[in-house]
Symmetry: C2
Subunit: 186 residues, 2 copies
DNA sequence: GGCAACCTACCTTCTAGTAGGTATATTCAA
DNA sequence: TTGAATATACCTACTAGAAGGTAGGTTGCC
């Protein structure tokens, strides 16, 4: 793995744990084992790192989208999407996208735009899952898909935060409630 | 209004905008017009301020709970709860509770506990609204109330974040979708 | 030679927090 | 009723450490 990739991967971990403002180049130095100045060589400013992170996350979602195409529409696709956050949940982490959104009011316009596009990409991915599920009569809902995608993605990201407080397990319970709700007969 | 109250109120605004890690005593100095050292007089450490903030928020929820008792169970109570976040949404702010949860992995155990108790208080408040609505046959759902409260509160807090990205208005749309969903005939 | 990837050593700015002082009340005893 | 002690709320001036970032040098590969 290239140093650049190592930096982004560790950033991902730290962002999901503490948020973008909550980690520093010193943390990366300690975790990767190269000097702070060398990290600036790869990402001159933290804004550059943030933008690269958004690109990485978007690519991640595109890869997930490709995986989903191989599954039947409906519950299997929805489950696969929800499972993508199970590791986060197990480690008491947040969703990286929402972590970035939380801190976005402190970002440069450039990074804000990158964050917004990332959030929209994910939103669209979930909406496509819901529409495909509805078309194949596997999922049942009356709301417009865009609205529903908003509610569902908000709910799971929020659940990742609630997952941090006792009693833990909020994420799994919320995910199950969502699947039950959408797959219930009308 | 006492200086202490002014500090907490301004902190509330800053936390909802930038998160607990995202503002400093210097911001309070600029906003309130007294020196940083004077703010340390009222809240010796930032942890003390955080704990006082949690107390303030809990009192806020208790006051909201009292208000809700005056309304009919079901949609009116649910609406009142959702309206409590409308101002946040209009200003592109987050929910203070979730903002604290986001940063909680950087907090002292003392402040973490305060945050967790605050989140639980709110969770319980929403659960009570749902249960009362179900009992009076105004709200309809099959999931256990605790699970549903998790999903609903997660969804609206998450929507406050989505509200930050274009097209704005995510909060209102999500709130409407939730009310429609819960009040629909079974 | 030229470039990428790393290094040491530094800078500035911001952070929470402290030391110690002043003005203004409040309390309480002679 | 005075006057000393105490407490509150503020101040200026400072600290140590962490933040993001820079200057400039070394190494090793194509």
């Amino acid at each position: 793995m290239s140093t650049r990739e190592k930096i982004i991967l560790l950033s991902n971990h730290l962002i999901q744990q503490r948020g973008f403002q909550g980690f520093s180049y010193a943390d990366l130095e300690a975790g990767i084992g190269i000097r702070k100045a060398s990290i600036h060589h790869h990402f001159p400013s933290k804004t550059d790192l943030g933008i690269a992170y958004c690109d990485y996350k978007r690519a991640d979602f595109k890869a997930l989208e490709a995986e989903l195409q191989k599954l039947p529409a409906g519950v299997p696709q929805l489950h696969a999407y929800l499972d993508a956050f199970a590791d986060c949940a197990a480690q008491g982490q947040m969703c990286g996208v929402y972590a970035m959104l939380s801190d976005s009011h402190l970002f440069s316009p450039e990074l804000q735009t990158a964050v917004y596009q990332l959030a929209q990409t994910e939103q669209q991915l979930l909406q496509d899952i819901l529409v495909a599920g509805q078309r194949s009569a596997a999922l049942h809902f009356a709301q417009p898909p865009a609205e529903l995608a908003m509610v569902v993605s908000s709910a799971i990201k929020g659940a990742l935060l609630l997952n941090r407080i006792p009693p833990h397990g909020a994420y799994e319970r919320a995910a199950k409630a969502i699947v039950d709700w959408l797959s219930a007969a009308p």
